[in-house]
Symmetry: C2
Subunit: 275 residues, 2 copies
């Protein structure tokens, strides 16, 4: 599927300078920032008649990565007293179904508001490892999983988001089940393996990856190798995705409603699949 | 354009009960909540090759409605000290390009997380009143504007989002220009007129409306008649949209990346147009 044409939004001169600065940092970065004009001229249409919501409900009960500040919503105006209702929100950026922007693990990476729109509306590739994850919660997506997907569905499209469906989304109602922490305090849930990321970064052209667990790295990780390998190349990560089993493994378009917050390192995102 | 088919996300029993309660409140509400199964069977495909970002950058400088608490982003982990970077966010829900959920002005209205996905991926109708707004900042969208749009582009599609393009998006870099407050403290910017909302609610079937200004009601409003007319019917509003002049008046699909926050009255949203 060829990517659609992107009408970039108006950016402030300050942001443009920041982008230029970042985009000058290396070849991998420059590739992400390359103008889409040429692709635009030959783009085919994407189409859909189905929409799925890949976003969990975010509230005070949603499982957070251990140590994160709690999610708070505090009503400050009220129907009876004020004639309308609304709240102040207070939360750690990496809560709920959310984006890890490149800068989250890369000092020179893009802030969330700098991720080009062309990397937020992209082909979705769903790699389902649910059966293995049910037996082994520490399992990871491997290069073999990716090759198996390609044998069935063809080469991963350029600019794709590669998404791990592990069945973990169904556990998100329970902090205990979602973290799956053992008696030593080690968490057990699936993620991407570093060699799968190496393969995707060197052999394919992707915009980002996504998981239905608390972290791009699997639960027992202490090195966060996937974060530190992926994000400095200015690809993004999505964590705590929902309903990945409900969308086709190939052919959907992912629409990532990431927050457009200045200097943000990511944040709660509304994510849809269209196909 | 027929609406696409929606795969609703898995909802907790609690949320389902809340939805059922709300959906029992009246005919207008019931219409919004009607199952989409019948439409799904005859849905045609929507397609696109262009994407535009209708979202302003949200930071500490973005113009707020007077009296709102300031937007705050506070870094709490740092690359050099912690090996990664991230912030705590603290803000009033109705900041930046954002959603007014029905409950914002209706005690029995839907919370933002309860708005069905079928109301968030919808046909976009853009009514451009920029020329008039340049002469008269207090101007409003009227039933005549809607009829003029329909004479040119055909009847407003069912489930559409009706969006006002007033040219005001280009002022969002300046609190002074965006609010346009006079020496008496009265703001002057365009919005929808109540009679246009009455027309849309009684004669057409819409999912919501959007404006490129600070409020669905125009600047001088003291009654917020548009808010109080629209939102209790469980339609939503979008405020502070960007780049509405860059999308076609007819034929685009609006994708509203509203936050999926429990008990939220709305919130910063990533909004794209696809066509």
């Amino acid at each position: 599927m060829c990517p659609p044409r992107f009408i970039e939004s108006i950016q402030s001169p300050e942001i443009s300078r920041r982008n230029l600065l970042k985009f000058g940092l290396g070849a991998a970065v420059a590739a992400v920032a390359a103008p889409l004009t040429a692709e635009a001229a030959t783009a085919t249409r994407a189409s859909f008649r189905n929409v799925a919501d890949l976003t969990h409900l975010l509230g005070t009960q949603f499982p957070l990565f251990p140590g994160a500040a709690p999610f708070q919503i505090t009503p400050v105006v009220f129907h009876e007293r004020d004639g309308y209702y609304g709240s102040i929100l207070n939360y750690w950026e990496h809560s709920g179904t959310h984006m890890d922007a490149p800068v989250h693990f890369a000092p020179n990476g893009l802030f969330v508001d700098q991720i080009p729109v062309s990397s937020l509306v992209v082909p979705a590739v769903v790699i389902n490892i649910s059966e293995r994850a049910a037996r082994d919660p520490d399992t990871v997506v491997t290069p073999d999983d990716i090759r198996a997907w390609e044998r069935r569905y063809g080469r991963i499209p350029n600019n794709a988001a590669v998404l791990m469906a592990s069945g973990w989304g169904a556990r998100a109602h329970s902090v205990e089940l979602f973290r799956n922490t053992d008696s030593s305090g080690v968490m057990h849930f699936p993620g991407f393996g570093k060699d799968a990321i190496d393969f995707l970064l060197t052999e394919r052209s992707i915009s980002g990856i996504g998981v239905d667990t608390l972290s791009l790295d699997h639960g027992p990780s202490t090195t966060f190798a996937v974060h530190y390998t992926l994000l400095p190349t200015n690809r993004w990560g999505l964590e705590n995705l929902a309903n990945l089993e409900s969308i086709p493994p190939s052919g959907a378009t992912l629409v990532v409603g990431a927050p457009k917050i200045a200097a943000g390192s990511g944040g709660p995102s509304r994510v849809f699949a269209l196909w």
